[in-house]
Amino acid sequence: MTVTTAGPASATEDLLPFRDPGFRADPYPYYARLREEHPVYRHPLGLYVVSRYEDIARLIRNPTLSVQRLDFGPAAPIHHTMLGKDAPDHTRLRRITNRWFTPKAVEEWSTVMRASVEAVLDEVEKGDGTLDAADGLSLKCAFDTTCHIFGIEPTEMDTIQRRTYEIGLSLGPGGNDEEARATTEAFGWFAEHIRRLVADKRAHPGEGLIDAFIAAQDEGRMTEEEVVHTIFLFFAVGHLDVKHLINHGIWLMTQRPELFAAYRDEPEARPGIINEILRIDTPESMVVRLTTQDTVIGDTTVPAGEALALLIASANRDPEVFADPDTFDHTRPLAAGQHLAFGSGMHGCAGQVLARAEADIVFSSIVNRFSGVELAGRPAYAHTEFLRTITHLPVRFR
């Protein structure tokens, strides 16, 4: 995104060096310092960064904050989706898709996910037990499921993953010109690809989500631009964050055999384990909002028209809410606080029932079939300041 604000930055030292490889590899020590010393930090780029749980949990529900008036820069087409709209447009778009992600709907999508996961693991068992879990399992199975929901064949998976990542590069505050160009090209590719898919659906109607969008457009409830970009959005969120949840969960199991055993032996602990995976390494580090009036955050009054970066990944490590926050502990009391990995309030993740179900299907299938999992090579990462991303996760199942 692009941040344009008047006035000088308050700190000369950059406490949140978005482009620094060390920061991208492990931003958590930086977050800890912000929470401690600068809970409302005016970043040199101009935006206000909020890092404490209490402030973020309140602001993320604040209905005076806008996304519609944010300048997304090269990612401006996001404004054609519910992620970039305030009420009432946000409400209209979200209501069209809500019914597709209810617990009842998710039961149906789960059968598709399960079949996809079992097919991958069948092949692993026939082979030598090794697999790149990143592309071969978490991406593939989530993508198969998304395409089933859309009512289309799962094609162009690798291109869709790459193009989504190129758009993701511009969703954080630290983008450069090269990334902006990649983002613009990626949106162009998606628009062309999706218009083809929609034309094909019009010629061969079905009962998928794309058919529902076409019907909504014909009834005047969605514009063509909204249809195209909402399909893009679901391609993106259909794999981006859930892939990280699954990859990070598998990686944790390679590091902590007791977690593998807990997942297998204590079904009642499974929701807590998934929550803790999301808390300890939150897939999207922040959500961004624009103030529309004076907004008081702790000792700071932020005037209207300023961009706020709410660091949900930092909130999820706030020791005021999560004791010993850098330690993985799936038995921590729920009463202490809910993690904010899925956001909260009206823009909170609509697909979280599905995301949790998809992760559970992968983890359950693994622990039911195998006795353990270990690294079969070095994992590779492509973290940005906004997205946590494991690109390769070579594992061996025993």
Binding site: R94, S344, M346, G348
Partner: protein, 70 residues
């Protein structure tokens, strides 16, 4: 019939407000307004004529925090 809202699960997405505007509302801070009446679990009687919107609210809640008791 009765509605039960688990406020420990609720994350104030407001989907119930859109589905059942006669039963749910958000306050000025964007939080479910019935939070002022309960801390953990909110239970209330609901008239039969609101059954349809109540079931929709229960169905679309992303946190599955709304339960309907016949």
């Amino acid at each position: 019939m009765k509605v039960e809202v688990d406020l420990r699960k609720c994350q104030d997405h407001g989907q119930c407000v859109y589905a059942a505007p006669h039963l749910f509302a958000l306050d000025d801070e964007g939080r479910l307004s019935l939070r002022s009446e309960a801390t953990d679990v909110y239970v209330a009687d609901v008239a039969e004529e609101s059954a349809e919107e109540l079931y929709e609210a229960a169905e679309v809640c992303p946190l599955q925090a709304v339960t309907v008791h016949e």
